[in-house]
């Protein structure tokens, strides 16, 4: 492996280095100073995030098992940014609740390992690498979901996630083996040449699709989502809904647009139906959630349904809109989860009714929440509006008018429940409002970055053009 190859795997190498460094630090640092590991991890990951933005050449390794291009590279940086914000928001929680159990290093190592898995998953050039990446990205998260071992709900979340994931990935692997059986290869660029519409290949594709649909929590593979989000620590729920989902959407898009192109008119219809099912189910369930984490879980299911509108096109425009939407979605959802986390950490309250009258006591936090929910609901001029608008444009450009219309209906439904939260925060007086509190530096930083992201992405259009250029790789 020469130096250039090393640079091609720069993200992976550096992240692996960080994991190793943290293991060493865990051993060296005295017990009384364990909280400094949090700072160290943040620092290292911050540097990693920044360094990720340096350009990278386009090439492949290991005979095509690992590949990278500008869009993949860009997306890894997006994931890094998301994880960095998430860590900022989680830092106080780790310092206050996790360090005392001497498990903070464990948290970082598991999280980074999962991220590493995602890197490999989206860089995969064949199904083997893809599958390894998928597993590596899922398994640590199951451990993380059960991280609060003393709490029953957390354990429940962990066990539900690991069992569902095992089932899904088993099904998916079965599907891969069928695709191998029809084409005689596991390499993406050879599968695309040999793939035709046969019963076996269709069955294989549907089975394979199930695995990724599970990760994106598309209906009907979404059942685990709400329970896991509710039980898991907020950072992990946030990670699952933002980072994990984003990465899975990305690789699904790459696979559909390039490898599975020969089955396009199968997956077009599949995505069409699943998009509708996902949007309606997510929205209808979100309507009556009282727990904020469950609420955000169903909201994120619905959002995934919207993303499918961009996926269905199979064009460069579709790619661009999906990546752009995911980017915006990361900022918006992290902002919402950040506020929930901040409040939960200070008061332990996670229910919608607890948020009544929040504006009177914590106006700034309320405004962040408002901005995040507006962005999720897609109200102009915040970023979420443009994200949705472009997705719908992409779908409409291929003639899916009915689908776009039904999506707009769903936007209306979603607006209702997002506004329910805003009403509770701003208009309701509340008998026992959450008292005023001040966030610590990391949390504040984490929220400020998300707010800036929501505002800037909404107003600064050249980024969209930039993504469009990058998307040329997957037409």
């Amino acid at each position: 492996m020469d130096l250039n190859s090393f640079f091609l795997m720069r993200h992976e190498m550096i992240l692996l280095g960080i994991i190793l460094l943290l293991i060493v630090a865990e051993i060296i640092v005295a017990d009384s100073k364990k909280s400094s590991i949090v700072n160290l991890a943040l620092l290292l990951f911050g540097i990693h995030t920044l360094s990720g933005f340096f350009p990278l050449q386009e090439s492949s390794l290991f005979g095509g098992m690992f590949r990278s291009n500008d869009l993949i590279h860009f997306f890894k940086s997006v994931l890094n940014l998301g994880v960095f914000i998430l860590l900022l928001q989680a830092a106080d929680w780790i310092k206050e609740k996790v360090v005392e159990n001497d498990r903070s290093t464990e948290f970082f190592i598991l999280l980074f390992a999962s991220l590493l898995g995602m890197y490999f998953m989206i860089s995969a050039g064949d199904f083997l690498m893809f599958y390894i990446g998928l597993e590596l990205s899922t398994l640590p998260v199951a451990a993380l979901a059960a991280f609060e071992i003393m709490q029953r709900k957390s354990s429940e979340a962990g066990i539900k996630l690991i069992l569902s994931a095992a089932l899904a990935s088993g099904v998916s692997l079965f599907g891969i083996s069928m695709l191998y059986a029809t084409t005689g290869s596991i390499y993406f660029d050879q599968i695309v040449l040999g793939l035709t519409e046969t019963n076996l290949s269709i069955l294989g594709f549907v089975l394979f699709f199930t695995g990724l649909a599970f990760k994106i929590s598309l209906v009907p593979f979404h059942f685990w989502t709400a329970d896991v989000y509710e039980g898991a620590p907020i950072s992990i729920a946030s990670y699952l809904s933002v980072i994990s989902k984003g990465a899975a959407v990305f690789i699904l898009m790459i696979l559909l647009f390039s490898v599975l192109k020969p089955l396009m008119h199968i997956w077009e219809n599949l995505v069409y139906g699943i998009a509708l099912a996902t949007m309606f189910t997510g929205n209808l369930f979100a309507l009556r959630q009282q727990n904020m984490k469950r609420f955000l879980a169903f909201s994120s299911i619905a959002q995934a349904g919207f993303i499918l509108l961009g996926l269905i096109t199979g064009t460069q425009l579709g790619t661009t809109t999906v990546v752009y939407f995911v980017l915006i979605y990361i900022f918006s959802n992290l902002a919402a989860f950040g506020v929930v986390q901040a409040i939960s950490l200070k008061t332990g309250k996670e229910n919608l009714s607890d948020y009544e009258g929040l504006y009177r006591t914590n106006p700034k936090l309320s405004l962040v929440m408002m901005l995040a929910l507006f962005s999720l609901a897609g109200i102009p001029p915040v970023a979420g509006f443009f994200g949705k608008f472009f997705l719908f444009t992409a779908a409409a450009s291929k003639g899916y008018y009915l689908l776009v219309f039904l999506a707009v209906v769903n936007v209306t439904i979603s607006l209702y429940y997002y506004l329910l939260v805003i009403r509770a925060i701003f208009l309701r007086k509340g008998t026992d409002p959450i008292p005023f509190f001040k966030n610590k530096l990391y949390m504040r930083l984490g929220l400020i970055i998300t707010v800036l992201g929501i505002l800037i992405l909404g107003l600064y259009s050249p980024l969209y053009d930039y993504i469009y250029q990058l998307s040329a790789a997957f037409k």
């Binding site: 089932l167 549907v206 009907p220 593979f221 685990w224 599949l270 209808l284 369930f285 309507l287």
Partner: protein, 639 residues
């Protein structure tokens, strides 16, 4: 010509507005007045400098004033159709800069005295600066869309300032009325802009106004109901201008707008904002002149002349001095519109255009002075009504003299400013349309009459006994009066026709002695009548009022136009159109929507059992899901 500093002229009031608006709670009232005055003063100096540089030094090339622009593309539609933001410098925009700056500066200084002790002092100055910014932006606009944006901003600041005393019901009603009526007119304006954008593919003034350009003639053949589309567009644009400039029948908001503080009336509803309509027509004058060979200009002329006459008649019977001045403003704006409508393009033929701009210029000075003088009086006696005043010359000497100067100016007495500009208008009318000329002369007489009616009523007439003895206003109010009085005396001597003309080349004007004598004579008759009626307290006036009976009553009720509009709005529109629509909306549209909403909640309730929390159910769902999908695609999806 270097235009970079021109951007500062609107920018400074904007900054002042933002500073005063954001820190209104933290700035002491006295300080905010100084900030406001200082900001306007800087803009005024820059405007004067620009005027000097343009008219005296760099503006001319081969004897023709050039147009300078500096702009960037703001919104891009096609290669030729885009919305720009920038500044445009040509004779009329520079002249307007001077007018807006001068009056605005005077009003700002005056307001420091007039508004002293008011709770919203800082807010008031913030609004004033917002208005001045918008007006500058309107004047300097390079294209139709930019002028429209600032046009609306001007409307908003006018709304805010009319409703400044927001605890007063009548003020709120007046603010709403002004906004709705002008918005209604602006709707026409906007459609006109769209038509022009659609057919000519440009919003740019220079392209649209190019007399040699092909744009105007190329679409002349596309007609709608016998008129070319561009003529329709110009009519609609004139509708917008008529709304802002209170032309009949869109004038009803102006008298009510007097609910605002008097300095506002002076600045916005006399000298600057209301002339925006005139300015708009002047801005597009070459286009008005070329399209359909000036057909739309005839409409402009007749609407203007009728408004001038109509308002002058009403002004005679009003008892609120600010309302008299409001109708006077409407009348004088009608004059300006009439002159524009009667103008030609080349050389001396463009005398109407020149006269209109000239009158705009002089009118701004003496009408602002009249309003500020009225404000000074109101400040002293705490009433707007003529019957509460009388004999004030003894108490308020400076106000008396300056008001007299302004009254003489508007009556057209030589050598004051109004004489010169009014004379040019009448010359233009005489040369083009003798019927309108007669109306013009008659209005000149009426003008002199009603203005001296209130002058005598306020400063002479009966000796009213006052609870508190009235006294002269403080220095900050008197100084602007004196400055404007001086301007009202000398503004007429500006060799206006050299600077401003339709073809920008300038021409020489001479006093047409017979016409000047007739006009001055009409004014003199008016003054004399007022002198007989109102100099001393007598019952001549009421006897005349009785003699005219019904006509007098109609006039004093402003010909019942408010009532007619109310009837049309309430009885005809609300009952027969709005109410059925509201019913339909409530029963069908809302009903459907509420039904959908309720159904959604019901469904949501019914399906919640699916999410059981049991892992085995989830696993079943997952497997069932892919089995169903696979089955569908393999067995049902047989192509």
């Amino acid at each position: 010509m270097n235009l970079n500093y021109i951007f500062l002229i609107p920018l400074i009031p904007l900054i002042v507005f933002l500073v005063l608006g954001i820190f209104s709670q933290k700035i002491k009232a006295g300080i905010s007045g100084y900030i406001g005055v200082l900001g306007i003063a800087i803009s005024t100096i820059l405007s004067y400098f620009a005027a000097w540089q343009y008219f005296m030094v760099e503006g001319k090339l081969n004897g023709v004033y050039q147009t300078f622009t500096e702009k960037t593309v703001w919104i891009h539609f096609t290669e030729s159709l885009h919305i720009d933001m920038g500044v445009l410098i040509d004779p009329i925009s520079v002249m307007m800069l001077v007018v807006v700056s001068t009056v605005s500066l005077m009003v700002n200084i005056y307001s420091r005295g007039y508004m002293k002790g008011d709770d919203g002092f800082t807010r008031f100055f913030a609004y004033l600066s917002l208005f001045t910014f918008s007006m500058y932006g309107l004047v300097l606009a390079t294209n139709l869309f930019q002028i429209y944006i600032f046009w609306e901003l001007v409307g908003v600041s006018s709304f805010l300032l009319i409703g400044y005393y927001y605890t007063k019901t009548s003020a709120i009603a007046a603010a709403k009325k002004a906004f709705i009526v002008t918005r209604f007119a602006d709707f026409g304006f906007l459609i006109g802009i769209f038509i022009i954008g659609y057919y000519t593919n440009t919003f740019d003034f220079q392209t649209l106004n190019d007399p040699e350009g092909s744009i105007l003639t190329s679409w002349a053949s596309t007609s709608f109901m016998g008129l070319s589309v561009l003529a329709w567009a110009l009519i609609l644009i004139f509708m917008g201008g008529a709304g802002k400039s209170a032309m009949f029948p869109l004038h009803i908001w102006l008298p009510d707008a007097m609910e605002g503080p008097t300095p506002v009336s002076a600045l916005i509803h006399a000298a600057t904002m209301v002339v925006a309509g005139v300015y708009l027509v002047a801005r597009l004058f070459p286009m008005f002149y070329i399209v359909e060979e000036g057909f739309v200009l005839h409409i402009v002329a007749y609407v203007g002349a009728f408004s001038a006459l109509f308002a002058a008649i009403i002004a005679i019977t009003q008892t609120d001095i600010k309302r008299v001045l409001a109708f006077s403003t409407m009348s004088q704006l009608g004059y300006m519109m009439m002159a524009l409508g009667l103008s030609g393009y080349d050389g001396h033929e463009g005398v109407g255009f020149m006269a209109s701009m000239f009158h705009l210029f002089t009118h701004a000075m003496f009408k602002a002075l009249l309003f500020l003088g009225a404000g000074s009086v109101i400040h002293a006696v705490h009433s707007n009504l003529l019957q509460d005043m009388g004999g004030l010359r003894k108490y308020m000497p400076v106000t008396n003299i300056t008001f007299l100067i302004a009254a003489l100016a508007i009556a057209g007495v030589p050598p004051l400013a109004g004489f010169w500009s009014k004379d040019e208008i009448l010359v233009a009318a005489y040369e083009n349309n003798q019927f309108l000329y007669l109306i013009g002369v008659f209005v000149a007489g009426l003008t002199a009459f009603y203005i001296f009616r209130i002058y005598f009523g306020i400063f002479w007439g009966k000796d009213t006994s006052y609870k508190h003895s009235p006294h002269e206003s403080p220095g900050s109010m008197v100084i602007p009066l004196v400055v404007l009085a001086v301007l009202s005396m000398v503004a007429g001597f500006v060799p206006f026709s050299e600077f401003i003309s339709a073809d920008k080349a300038g021409f020489d004007t001479h006093i047409n002695v017979p016409l000047a004598v007739i006009a001055t004579g009409a004014g003199a008759v008016g003054i004399l009548m007022a002198w007989i009626f109102y100099k001393k307290e007598n019952d001549l006036a009421s006897r005349f009022a009785n003699a005219f009976g019904v006509f007098y009553k109609c006039t004093s009720r402003k010909f019942y136009f408010d009532e007619i509009y109310l009837f049309m709005a309430r009885t005809i529109f609300f009952k027969n159109v709005a109410a059925p629509i509201a019913w339909f909306d409530k029963k069908f549209v809302d009903g459907t929507m509420e039904g959908i909403g309720n159904k959604t909640v019901v469904i949501s309730e019914k399906i919640k059992g699916i999410q059981s929390g049991k892992l085995q159910d989830y696993a079943f769902g997952l497997i069932a899901g892919f089995v169903v999908i696979a089955f569908m695609f393999i067995y049902l999806w047989t192509n």
